[in-house]
Amino acid sequence: MTGNFKLVVIGGSAGSLDVILKIIPQLVLGSSLSLIIVMHRRINYDFSLSDLLTTKTLWEVSEAEEKQLILNDHIYLAPADYHLLIENDHTLSLDVSEKINYSRPSIDVTFESAAEVFGPSLACILLSGANDDGVQGLRKVKQAGGTCIVQDPATAIVSYMPQHAIDNAVIDKIIHPDEIGELINLMGR
């Protein structure tokens, strides 16, 4: 599970912010990959998330803009109330269509879209949450030859989402939150 990855997408819901705050300080520069984070959150708290994450990592953090080209050593956040998709030319697209799994952004939407474009050079990581979102997307990632990683439910504040993924999709690795940052560094070598 090292090298040759171009994109990592992290999906999280309730209880995932703590994990993300553990991951991103560990990221080293000079990586071959970009990171997209799709987090369910309340719209009202939205404005501060990219500011918060920026202070915690060496990577560039920004809220995704439409037509933005994804770059290495960059973190892109799915904006609240938009689905985030990826085009063949590696630019980002936004979409305000119906909520999926009661969620917008939906993790499934971004996982599926990333799988179509990046195939085997994609890894998707599903974190803590109380929702079914992400599982369908992980199946598509696997079909396209990508890598599926899930937070160990025993370490999750809300175990439902990662457990549901383990029960319903083929998972390559179940991982402790402390190890995710290092794994991303390895994948980006």
Partner: protein
């Protein structure tokens, strides 16, 4: 998928070829699954042989999700920064381009009414999709959303009781006819149709995010031709004029809401 898009263009004249691929592909896949076609060939056959199915397809692959007073601070800015300028005109023309089921048009009508401007305003509401315009004409929206809309309304600076604007019946809220008396609705395709009037305010929110860069520029040029000098152009919260062909003629409002003024 490219074949389906070229069918839509060649047979029916609907051009989706300049739409962003990822989103439209997802919409078409979704429709394919919902309508349980056994194969792409049967999907295609239905599309080319059944005019009614075309209507369904256009309705389903275009995104019609909208809400009232979406992004309340945006609406507050319209009330506080844009209306005082519009008020100086003897006659106000506003174009809601890509209005979908019309929630934003009703939001605007409510604000104009409260600013005592509705009587001298006309709200042109257009969409590519004829079915959603029927909804706009009726002014009937699901009751379950009213709590959220009412909160949005208050945050946008609304001072009245939001429920005074509609009558609840079963699961629906029917908005006061006083609001839609000044609305003119019509189909209009931003891809292929021309400018049809001059406006002081054009609203086009979360429509162009589905367009590729060239089509965005074409559409913005159309808006530019349809906007009076010193008129306002209002876009969605993640849309921007910054890199567009018309950027240098426009100035964004100081509070950084997605509202631009035509200065040249």
């Amino acid at each position: 998928m490219e074949i389906l898009l070229s069918d839509l263009l060649e047979i029916y004249g609907y051009d989706f070829t300049e739409y962003s691929r990822a989103s439209i592909k997802r919409r078409i896949n979704r429709l394919f699954v919902i309508d349980r076609f056994p194969s792409i060939a049967e999907f295609r056959f239905r599309l080319v042989s059944d005019q009614n199915y075309l209507r369904r397809m256009v309705e389903e692959i275009t995104v019609n999700v909208t809400e009232m007073f979406r992004d309340p601070m945006f609406y507050k800015t319209i009330r506080e920064e844009v209306f005082p300028v519009l008020a100086t005109h003897p006659f106000i023309r506003i174009w809601h381009a890509g209005c979908a089921t019309g929630e934003e048009v009703y939001s605007m009508a409510i604000m104009l009414h409260e600013a005592n401007l509705l009587h001298k305003s006309l709200l042109y509401a257009t969409d590519i999709n004829p079915l959603v315009l029927e909804n706009l004409r009726k002014g009937i929206f699901p009751l379950k959303h009213m709590k959220q809309y009412s909160e949005n309304y208050i945050t946008s600076g609304g001072k009245n009781d939001f429920s005074d604007y509609y009558t609840a019946k079963y699961e629906f809220a029917k908005f006061d006819d006083m609001l839609n008396r000044k609305m003119i609705s019509s189909t209009h395709n931003l891809v292929s149709d021309r400018s049809f009037n001059e406006f002081q305010l054009i609203m086009c929110r979360n429509v162009m995010i589905y367009f590729d860069r060239d089509l965005q520029d074409k559409t913005l040029t159309l808006f530019d031709e349809s906007l009076e000098k010193l008129g306002f152009l209002a876009l969605g919260s993640k849309e921007n004029l910054k890199f567009s062909v018309i950027a240098k003629k426009y100035l964004q409002l100081e509070n950084k809401e997605k509202i631009w003024r035509k200065v040249l």
